[in-house]
């Protein structure tokens, strides 16, 4: 069966620096796929390439078998790619509800009969439902710029889902969240319908092992391993690659890995 997302030989260079070197990645329909690796391995760059924000210097990106390599982020979003950014990106002067409404518009279901405002009305109802699900029911009328960091993250997830994606690209969604918020996030991602595939970049391996059924390890811009969480846990080179990365990033941020597998560097 054609995978939902297939990246073939993706290469990105910034001058002399090779950020991604011939990366292959397959995400099946409905799969929960994690992308792990040390800082600077190229994880966010790969998400940027898959989302269309960065154009790859080489290689191809197929979405459900169709070549989308040359399409920009907007066209890919309309084809069902939703994106959660590392730093929550919301429209700060718009209210939380309006944020979700605007995000939902491109892929909104058209109401059968046109009445003035029908589309917006429907969009607002859906938006309210999404906010409710993300625990933002009571801040719908608050400008997004005034929301706390964790709320903005939740809002961005609501926005992405309101756009009815087939594939959700999540870039460190747990970063900067409180313990309660992380728990809610995990619960929420678990409850996501299988119609939505997830590609998750995450440093916290406990979250990765709890949520995902496939893990790819990226290091120095290459995929060094792909497999089930159990396989990845068992594979020596991967542990080594990741352990090096962990010690590296811990040396940089001065934190201590909380578990042997290392959940650190939550910025």
């Amino acid at each position: 069966m054609t995978p939902l997302l297939h990246a073939l030989g993706v290469t990105v260079r910034y001058g002399a620096l090779t950020a991604l070197d011939n990366v292959d990645l397959r995400v099946e329909h409905g799969q929960r796929h994690a992308l792990i690796g040390p800082n600077g391995a190229g994880k966010t760059t790969l998400l940027d390439v898959l989302g269309g924000a960065t154009r790859a210097g080489g290689g191809r990106v197929l979405l459900a078998g169709r070549d989308v390599t040359r399409l920009g982020p907007a066209a890919r979003a309309r084809r069902g790619v939703g994106r959660i950014h590392q730093r929550p990106a919301v429209w700060s002067t718009l209210t939380a509800t309006e944020n979700v409404v605007v995000a939902a518009l491109p892929n909104a279901v058209r109401p059968g009969r046109w009445r003035p405002g029908a589309r917006r009305c429907a969009a607002e109802r859906t938006a309210g439902a999404w906010l409710e699900r993300m625990g933002l029911g009571d801040v719908g009328a608050v400008p997004a710029g005034r929301l706390a960091h964790g709320q903005r993250r939740q809002l961005e997830i609501a926005m992405a889902l309101a756009g009815r994606p087939r594939l959700l690209l999540l870039d460190e969604p747990a970063a900067g969240l409180s313990v309660v918020e992380v728990a809610r996030l995990v619960e929420f991602l678990r409850a996501l319908p299988r119609a939505v595939a997830v590609l998750l970049v995450e440093h916290r391996l406990d979250l990765v092992y709890a949520l995902c059924d496939q893990v790819s390890v990226l290091r120095d811009g290459r995929t060094v391993a792909t497999g089930t969480p159990a396989e990845i846990r068992a594979s020596g080179p991967v542990r080594q690659a990741y352990a090096e990365g962990v010690s590296l990033c811990c040396a940089r941020s001065g934190c201590v890995p909380a578990t042997p597998t290392g959940s650190c560097c939550t910025r």
């Binding site: 800082n39 600077g40 391995a41 190229g42 994880k43 966010t44 760059t45 940027d48 989302g51 924000a53 960065t54 920009g72 982020p73 907007a74 066209a75 890919r76 979003a77 309309r78 994106r83 950014h85 590392q86 730093r87 990106a89 919301v90 429209w91 700060s92 002067t93 718009l94 309006e98 944020n99 409404v101 605007v102 995000a103 518009l105 491109p106 892929n107 405002g117 589309r119 917006r120 969009a123 400008p143 710029g145 005034r146 926005m159 756009g163 870039d171």
Partner: protein
């Protein structure tokens, strides 16, 4: 606190100015009424500037281009078609929109200071063309004696300055009302979102260049309609009406009016233009000096953009790369690994 005070002050001034606009033709002499009618036309151009600058985040110095196109289309084409002002208005709006549409490729990918430069260059080139195209536009002498018009079929000709002024006032009120209504729909939502974070809008699947193109053409149509009002108001049109100082003055008016508010832009532009006309009346020799100082002082006194940075005109404010990088699309949201 200061925000609230500024807002209250702005609202008070707006109410006063609107009341004065309605009562003006019965309280001042004919010459001033004619001047005010022209000021109203400029106020409408100010609205189109605010639409681009404040609402869509594309700072422009070139709205005199569609304004001029509208004025000349109204004076040259409209006069041959009919003596009904509404026909002129439509012709002028179409001309303004057409010119704006033709220049869409030039502004659609540019941002920040680049837009200022490009629009200024476009505006000036249009005025140059108008000044040189003697056979149609009358060159720098302009077109005098544009025949009077009737507002709609069946009504008498607008023969007095007061009638022309009231016509202009009604048209401005209707058009500004229409713009406000449209901005209240999701169109306004999309424009504000684009101003806040354009990359996020693309990441959600919106066709941002199309939004920019539509708002640019719409602003062109509004400015074109204002051109028709100018011709009705002064029955004369010349390149001097579309100078570079007019663009700067309008921009100042829009900034004074609050940049993101369309009604504020109308009031701000009217105040600034009326102030300029008054200044040239009382201090003919020193008017540019005083006007220049007024620019400097106003810029210094305006509340800093800083307090609006969370919710202000995004594309004008954030640290857009000042280089040719400024014309590239803003970097994708979210930091890189």
């Amino acid at each position: 606190m200061r925000d609230e005070a500024v807002r209250a002050l702005r609202r008070g001034v707006a109410v006063l100015v609107l009341a004065a606009l309605v009562l003006a033709p019965w309280t001042v002499d004919d010459y001033t009424v004619a001047l005010l009618a022209r000021t109203l036309a400029l106020g409408l151009v100010g609205v189109s500037v605010a639409l681009l600058t404040g609402v869509a985040g594309l700072p422009t110095l070139g709205q005199t281009a569609p304004y001029a196109a509208g004025a000349y289309a109204s004076a040259v084409l409209g006069s041959r078609l009919s003596d009904v002002a509404v026909v002129h208005l439509v012709v002028a709006a179409a001309a303004g929109a057409a010119l704006a549409a033709a220049t869409v490729p030039l502004v659609v990918y540019a941002r920040g200071v680049i837009v200022l430069m490009i629009t200024l260059a476009i505006g000036e080139l249009v005025v140059t063309v108008v000044g040189r195209w003697r056979s149609v536009t009358g060159g720098s002498d302009g077109l005098a004696g544009v025949p009077p018009v009737r507002p709609v079929w069946g009504l008498p000709v607008l023969a007095t300055d007061r009638a022309r002024y009231l016509y202009a006032l009604v048209v401005v009120a209707v058009l500004v009302g229409a713009v406000l209504l449209v901005l209240h729909t999701r169109v306004g939502l999309l424009l504000r979102a684009g101003r806040d974070d354009e990359a996020r809008l693309r990441a959600s699947g919106h066709r941002v260049p199309a939004h920019v193109a539509v708002v640019h053409v719409a602003a062109g149509a509004v400015a074109g309609a204002a051109g028709s009002l100018l011709v009705v108001a002064q029955q004369f049109v010349s390149p001097a009406d579309f100078g570079f100082d007019t663009s700067a003055l309008l921009l100042l008016g829009v900034v004074v009016g609050g940049a993101t508010s369309v009604g504020g832009a109308l009031v701000g532009a009217v105040i600034v233009v009326a102030g300029r006309d008054w200044l040239f009346g009382v201090l003919p020799g020193y008017a540019p000096l005083v006007l220049g100082l007024a620019f400097v002082v106003t810029v210094y006194l305006l509340p800093g953009d800083g307090h609006r940075s969370a919710g202000g005109p995004g594309r004008l404010l954030p640290g857009l790369p000042a280089s040719p990088g400024g014309r590239e699309r803003p970097a994708p949201t979210g930091a890189r690994t």
